[in-house]
Symmetry: C2
Subunit: 375 residues, 2 copies
């Protein structure tokens, strides 16, 4: 195979082509279904043969523990390779790129995998975030806590998700700061970390944005998101709920991020809306995003199809939602209620094919279309 450069557009992947996906969870499953809608085949690379995505993919390759054995052979069978989780090792992306376009690219992964790198990048392009400091060790944390003032949240720089690897702390004296820092540092496993000032936000919103190989960008309407215990509970997109100028600003931020990264694919951008309407970016996810699941029912082209279109070099599709909509995650035992959910004629039920119900595990989601958007 010839050497590809993912930064160049090249020819689109034609119907019948193969989209490789690193990772086999529910996001990979919904990506595979979206690819199939466009007549594309999918090939999943993941450690577990019984993963949600393998059930709907055309082909599955079991990834080895070090994530590299077999990866080259996998990549050579694909026309493009993408991912469903942002913590794919950069070395893996490089290995894929030797034979096949990897989208999104190494730059996006490097940026999103480390909270400090990400925040530095955001500030570098003029996007606002909460005040933060890179910290490593107890005295570092204690010092930063006093400098930030008020409450703060300590997060591992790498590999956190669904609120894991995080600890809240505040202190009113140097001694208390030292004590709280010690406890928090232990709680996150004594890993290199970032301390972020707690922001008194009005609400959390997010924008799902897509950028194509030619640089075209489409944004979905921002959603309001409610988290519980660090896990997304609900996303809602309701006409008038978010001020039009705030929504426009959120779109502008999302556009500037994907432009600066020359990003290809769908990205989730989480923001805090402050009481005064100001927006701070919380984090970005270089992949399809839980807060965009509502697009399956409410838009001509879902975030999953949009991502497949982008990485395959297709034209981006319609992101204009036709209805107000609410999406609720089914977490842990909630999925056991599938029969009563299925009986509600206004609900659309999605289950991810996970055999085992565990506390805090995302088992599925439910979408309810509300009123049509006025035209």
């Amino acid at each position: 195979m010839t050497q590809f450069d993912a930064s160049e557009g090249g020819q689109p992947v034609r119907p019948g082509g193969v989209v490789g996906i690193l990772g086999g969870g529910q996001l990979g499953r919904m990506l595979a279904v979206a690819a199939a809608k466009l007549g594309l085949k999918t090939h999943i690379y993941a450690p577990d043969a019984d993963c949600p995505a393998s059930e709907v993919a055309t082909k599955f390759t079991r990834g080895s523990d070090d994530y590299h054995r077999g990866l080259s052979a996998f990549a050579e069978e694909c026309d493009v390779v993408t991912l469903e989780f942002e913590n794919v090792p950069v070395a893996s992306a490089d290995l894929v790129s030797r034979s096949t376009p990897m989208r999104p690219s190494r730059l996006a992964l490097e940026t999103a995998q480390d909270r400090v790198v990400e925040k530095d990048f955001l500030c570098g392009i003029g996007v606002q975030t909460a005040a933060y400091a890179a910290v490593d060790g107890i005295s570092d944390i204690a010092k930063a806590l006093q400098e930030l003032g008020g409450g703060a949240i300590l997060k591992t720089r790498r590999m956190g998700y669904d609120g894991r690897g995080q600890a809240r702390l505040s202190a009113s004296s140097a001694q208390e700061a030292e004590e709280k820092a010690r406890a928090a540092y232990a709680q996150i496993g004594r890993a290199p970390a970032i301390l972020e000032a707690l922001v008194p936000f009005r609400r959390e919103i997010s924008v799902i944005v897509a950028r194509g190989v030619g640089g075209e960008i489409v944004c979905y309407d921002p959603s309001e998101n409610l988290h519980e215990a660090g896990i997304l509970r609900r996303s809602m997109v309701v006409s008038g709920a978010i001020d039009a100028t705030v929504a426009a600003k959120a779109h502008e931020i999302a556009r500037s991020i994907v432009s600066a990264l020359a990003y290809v694919g769908v990205m989730g951008v989480e923001l805090f809306e402050l009481e005064n309407g100001e927006l701070l970016v919380n984090e970005v996810a270089p992949r399809v995003h839980n807060t965009g699941h509502w697009t399956i029912e409410a838009c001509p082209v879902s975030q999953f199809e949009q991502h497949i279109r982008a990485v395959c070099g297709w034209p981006l599709g319609g992101a204009q939602r036709h209805s107000d909509v609410a999406m609720t995650n089914l977490i842990g035992q909630e999925a056991a209620e599938w029969a009563s959910i299925a009986a509600d004629p206004e609900l659309s039920l999605h289950l991810y094919g996970k055999a085992e119900i565990r506390d805090g595990r995302k088992m599925g989601h439910v979408t309810r279309l509300l009123l049509p958007v006025a035209t």
Copy 2:
């Protein structure tokens, strides 16, 4: 495995269960995707490993030419078996039923596989059809043609689809009838046939109806259908286009048919609407139907998911459409235009993963949502 009786409800197939599908075309593909949405696995039984459905199914079994070898083993691996084409041999359905519920059942297949049996059944339950006669041989056809008067259409009793195995004929004299009968009989391959009076209809409409294991029934709004050269070109569902009393009558007919057959699953009922609003049933298809593809985008639960719900013993889902909608088939070379179709932000493109474009072959379809339905 214990012996199941498909006529009894029994326990629903739970998430994680396996839905077997006889046939591997685009209908099987869209059924498999719908099953995956509900957390169910799919197992396709079809003659061609490269078929559209195998690309998205959890498992594939290559069916042998006589359609029986391996079928028992396949059925034993499934929690329920259904089909995507109505010409599954009745003996195959019987074989499946020995170990696993087969839905729809033998009765529906027997009825729908033979046009004469189907019309006799419809007339038997008081549903109107065009005048018809079972015919076998040239003199039979000539005699029936004169009795029906005007134009008629000769169709093979079995195995016709997309206008194949059909010939139109009319005659103004006994001698002409004999000549026309000879030509038409040759054209349809000298098979046992039915002669149907040509009906001066205003338009063709269809109803997608679903019946669950407990006897509950839901109907989708009737669509207006346009055929070209015997192949469906377009289905439209637009508020006010079909008179409410006509729509209600169409639903009543669909309900009476699935009730009389104790049918489980989705059925497509094609009707002729006459100038006076009267409805004649043209034919029924005991499966998901091309004229119901619009339900994917326009309803909470698509015909594909509805069928999976029904055969799995789940509650039926919401069939109320939220938008007016138009669905257009992509036939033969039209699918080569995928890139320009994908570029239209108001269109939803579906391609079926068929490698080879052939004249008259259904390669995909395109759905356009029109105005929201007034609430």
